[in-house]
Symmetry: C2
């Protein structure tokens, strides 16, 4: 048996064991450093070795970034007395600085590790550099200190063998389209609002990746859409190339199916936790990569070309592992059977000796039958007593003197001999020696792999990108997406746009496509229409198309010309939060205020039912004033869905406001939802009709109609609202 | 080493391993059988042995019951081709019958196991009975068939050793206060709506239990409040007795801290998966129970008395385990060290032999030094080669002939002798024999415990109840709860009521208590008031107080007289569900229709902002009509919170409607929220004020005020609504 020692402390953010990790999601450990409104944020995935850091000057951006990462654990320097305490989600909110959301798991750490000098030294030492200039954070103190604090924690939790990290990479959140937490939530990017399930999310609708690496990368692309048109175009080009070549797609797909999670396998090899199956998986993946390189030789896109020239060391590793490892090794490393016979002479010799002893015991039965003249004598084995010679009660008188009595059963007597026990002991010792040797040779193999961990990771990244792009190409083909033309102006023009998730939930052909035009003549669209007619769906569809385009994907439309946005804002639905004393309406107003304080003329703003949570007049007044502000001051491209039909008057007052409605066909007894968005304002909401469909008792519906007629007789609101 | 075989198939609902289970929640496996609108539902927790079944005739009740149980896995008979497939949450909705929520994990099963004859036979055989009469389901075919189908699955997944189940218990959902899923959700009984966290839930606020068993039982009480006044009173009496006796409380608390999770330990012993630490935990718990029995001798409540007379067999088991097991056994069962020296002569003998051999090897160094005349000769040990004799290079010429060369190092040579290897082999064999014997004796001990599993479970249930009641007494004392007087009439009278969760979130003394009076003169309260003034909080506080009272707890109020309710309904907030095509308003209307179709004069109905999701006039008309219907036709006790101030006119038209408002103090520049509920209707909502507090830009606020003045000038809705 191999000796075991405690060499690691496991915490939610430092797990390396693949079985505890979700294959298609990164498991991030984050470290946060606050200084006034400024902040530093570093994060690492110990299973893939990724290690990044950034800093910023707006706490809301920090929260958004944490929301994107969904870290399993967040380190936080603290002067609190119970340092190193782990705050489980929701625990001890009072120990957290304002605005840090309590739903994550925080670990309080000594501020010492986050000090500039200490952090710099630790990072330089780990990565064997003299300055952090090359990593881009020499002059970003908060980013550097956060990274140093994170590394200190990893060093502490993985004492024996340092976590194999990739080089530190500094990024800027200004490189990416900014999505605040509620927008990420409202657009249902990775889970639905209603029940938090993956099915029904945008990622669910577009993820056709084959490998777990590809799945993780696609998730990252989705949560970090691009701002740079050239980067977007590069992805579009790759997708176009893949769409045009079906045999390339099929061949890639076949190969990708044979490639295991290289990123995490490299991590496990590097940290000394890989077992023989992990190395076998690497061996098989390397072989596939060799063959894959020939598949992509004739391609154009740099994404595909990245796989055409495999580093020779990978091929060498494939050969080494093939020669040494058996085809399907067992999980246990300490019970032998790992290494191929013939690969190591020393092992073969040991095996031979074991075989001889086993053979001797096998021969013993015949030999002893002859010697004693007992034809029924048998050699047996039990776990408790080991090997024995069994003689039936009737033949006991024929037992020789050198037999030692060991156990008496009803009909037989069991014996051993000195020689038998000696052989048995030798066999046992030889076997345990063989296992030990196999283990040692295996560790050597693993170290050979570990030495190439960073090369393996580079290839893994290239494979992941190809996988993600191949998946996007498949979606584009089978769902009929188009390549959006990306521009630097404010145009947002979509023809035949569809909601990428809802269209897949409906039978083919059932989804009604709609056009959108913003940023050219009109900036703000007032959208009215009956309940349940699809206003919310339309609103989100526009946001999702813009987002897909900026992650480099094709989009569900017949054609689209899209100016790059700096931010997408949404305000739809809300739940109140009694615990923090926020009413639904206050939550709504907070979110609205956030939008009005941050949106600009490059932003896309999607507002659903502003002003709904308060009294009629208050709500209408707020909705009106917010819409005016967006159209005249901020000039954001905005879709403003509302039940206040009074807002249709805005279009007559402001030149860049246009009215649209979702139309229905009204029959005597029912209304038919056409789901078509057309110019013009609606004048009815059919709320009572919706109540009827939902099953309100007929007498209630009847009475509601009477009340409605009474109200209509006596009211005319919203006259004279021309802005002075 | 002990041989391992695959003897169990693990599925989400059949896990026995304590480490995979949450200690304070049951892990339920459920089986559902549908027949038109009728249904049967059985469930079991294999870790505690609980096994219950019921049937009903309304699918909504089934969904509510499943929501209460939150099963880890649901079995469903199906004719689908891929039988035995597990549908992960959200997967393959189309394979599920309508209305069964897709967020759980379903396992499709052959209808065979659910057939009446087969199910009855299987149940009778398992529990060794001739008829199911005694279990109460002989004449409830759907309940019986569901239970049979569940048992068939357990038999299949646990082939080797049947899961130790308690007797089947048939219950009726009519015994309990009915809570539909949205009410359970809206009242935040076990998790918050906003982020699903435990902190901020009612259970969080009242759970002061010490043991995991007590925690699970309290959760069950919370989700299954009672209807029977006698049962409620029994719990109140126990709480009263505990509150009056602080030394009893302290002593109970101290004892409970020493009691492990008896329910699950009994289950693990019964299923043959308990390790030595589990038995040690049982031993320590039994000892504590012996001492606990004396603590409760002088008590009155049957709940407490249940612990006064411990079955003698438990005391015997405590003695047996104490004598046999070491104080702190290791986790592994196969590496010895489990059993106390002196307890088993056979083991002692074996240990003695091992010691002799060890001593022989220890003596060898001195002996061989003398024989060879090499003073530096050493006996060493490596994992690979075992014991050896080490001689320095300089003394090689003095090595005797019987030394066998084994390994050459730089400065020393290592040897073995035949005798040394023989002793080593004997030592190895003897040790593994000792481990094997220890294991066998341990298994015998475990079987002795398993034979008493049902007795242990009975005690566990009694301990859990005392723990839950002790926790409720602590909450009542420290939070200043009162004992509600329960009546059979429709009265709902609360003096100084508080929200049990929110009051604990605020600094002591900050929460503003309020009175409530319903069911005597007024049945329906129209509640108006500004945004964020606390209407939602007040609404839920009344629901939570009623619910706490019906689970037998004291309530956060200065006094309360409460008629027992048959159902509590709530309709607050909503999120839309694009995936199923439901708009927010449709969800709201569906839930409202459900209430109007099920509520009666014994129900408590809590409605927040009905009609908010549609146009103003539609919404007001629906709100008016729903309120009228509740007050005049259903006569449910209702709180109707609304922003439609027009509804205040209802009170002048209907005798059993009363107006209440949450009052604020209006200053020139701000409003102060007083959180006081007083008679009378509010006429303003201060929505714009709320927007200002939330940080809307000042120019937006200014403009909203102007718009508001314009609207008010031109409108008078809600005149002439007297019901004809």
């Amino acid at each position: 048996l191999v000796k075991r020692e405690v060499t690691q402390v496991f915490t939610p953010g430092t797990v390396l064991d693949t079985e505890l990790l979700q294959p298609r999601r990164n498991n991030f450990l984050a470290a946060v450093l606050l200084s006034g409104n400024h902040w530093g944020l570093a994060y690492a995935d110990v299973s893939t070795g990724e290690f990044c850091t950034t800093q910023g000057s707006d706490r809301a951006e920090l929260v958004a970034e944490l929301n994107r990462l969904q870290p399993a654990e967040i380190l936080l320097p603290s002067e609190a007395p119970d340092i190193n305490r782990v705050l489980r989600p929701g625990e001890a909110k009072d120990q957290l600085p304002a605005e840090l959301p309590p739903q994550w798991c925080y670990t309080l750490r000594s501020p010492q590790d986050f000090q500039a000098a200490e952090a710099r030294q630790r990072l330089c030492q780990r990565f064997q550099v003299k300055s952090l200039e090359g990593f881009g954070c020499e002059h970003l103190p908060l980013a550097m200190r956060a990274a140093g604090g994170l590394l200190a924690y990893l060093d502490e939790t993985h004492r024996q063998q340092p976590v194999p990290l990739q080089n530190l990479s500094t990024y800027s959140i200004a490189q990416y389209l900014f999505l605040d937490p509620q927008t990420r939530r409202n657009l249902e990017l990775t889970q639905t609002v209603r029940d938090g399930s993956f099915q029904g999310s945008l990622l669910w609708a577009i993820d056709r990746t084959t490998t777990a690496m590809g799945g993780r990368l696609l998730r990252r692309w989705l949560l970090q859409p691009l701002l740079d048109i050239e980067q977007i175009t590069a992805r579009q080009d790759a997708i176009a190339e893949l769409m045009a070549n079906s045999s390339l797609r099929q061949s890639l797909h076949r190969h990708l199916q044979e490639i295991y999670d290289l990123e995490r396998l490299a991590g496990r090899a590097g940290s000394g936790t890989a077992n023989a199956r992990d190395l076998a998986a690497l061996r098989d993946s390397f072989r596939t990569l060799v063959s894959l390189a020939t598949v992509v030789t004739a391609t154009q896109s740099p994404y595909l070309q990245a796989l055409a020239h495999l580093p020779p060391v990978i091929e060498q590793l494939a050969d080494t592992l093939s020669a040494a490892l058996v085809d399907q090794p067992p999980i246990s490393l300490t019970e032998g059977g790992l290494l191929r016979p013939g690969a190591y002479p020393e092992l073969d010799q040991q095996r031979q000796q074991i075989e001889q002893d086993q053979q001797w015991i096998l021969n013993l039965e015949a030999q002893e039958r002859e010697r004693t003249g007992i034809p029924t004598l048998k050699v047996g084995y039990t776990k408790v007593f080991g090997y024995y010679l069994s003689v039936s009660r009737a033949k006991l008188n024929q037992v020789p003197d050198d037999y030692i009595r060991k156990q008496t059963l009803t009909n037989e007597e069991r014996f051993i001999t000195a020689e038998l026990k000696e052989r048995e002991a030798r066999l046992l010792a030889a076997q345990s020696h063989l296992f030990e040797l196999e283990y040692q040779y295996f560790v050597q193999l693993r170290e050979q792999v570990a030495a190439q961990a960073s090369t393996i990771r580079e290839i893994a990244a290239a494979v992941a990108a190809v996988d993600a792009l191949l998946g996007l190409a498949e979606v584009a083909l089978y769902q009929g997406y188009c390549r959006p033309q990306m521009t630097r102006d404010r145009q947002l023009q979509i023809r035949g746009g569809r909601h990428p998730v809802v269209e897949q939930m409906l039978p083919a052909g059932f989804f009604v496509p709609n056009d959108t035009e913003l940023g050219t003549s009109a900036d703000l669209m007032v959208l009215t229409g009956p309940n349940a007619s699809g206003k919310s769906c339309y609103l989100r569809q526009v946001g999702l198309i813009q987002l897909l385009a900026q992650m480099g994907s094709y989009v569900p439309a017949t054609s689209a010309t899209l100016g790059v946005c700096d931010r997408i804002f949404t305000r739809v639905g809300a739940v109140d939060d009694l615990a923090t004393g926020q009413s639904t309406f206050m939550v709504e107003m907070n979110e609205t205020a956030n939008i009005l304080n941050h949106a600009g003329d490059r932003s896309l703003v999607l507002l659903d039912e502003i002003g709904r949570g308060t009294a009629t007049f208050d709500g209408l007044a707020i909705a009106w004033s917010v819409a005016e502000y967006l159209a005249t001051t901020l000039k954001s491209r905005t879709i403003f869905a509302t039940h206040y039909h009074e807002l249709n008057q805005l279009a007559t007052l402001l030149p860049n406001v246009a009215n649209y409605q979702v139309v229905v066909k009204e029959l005597p007894d029912e209304i038919i939802f056409l789901h078509q968005v057309k110019p013009g304002g609606a004048d009815r909401s059919y709320g009572i009709e919706a109540g009827r469909l939902a099953g309100l008792p007929p007498v209630v519906i009847q009475r509601a109609r009477e009340v409605m007629r009474q109200i209509e007789k006596h009211s005319k609101i919203a006259v004279g609202l021309r802005k002075s």
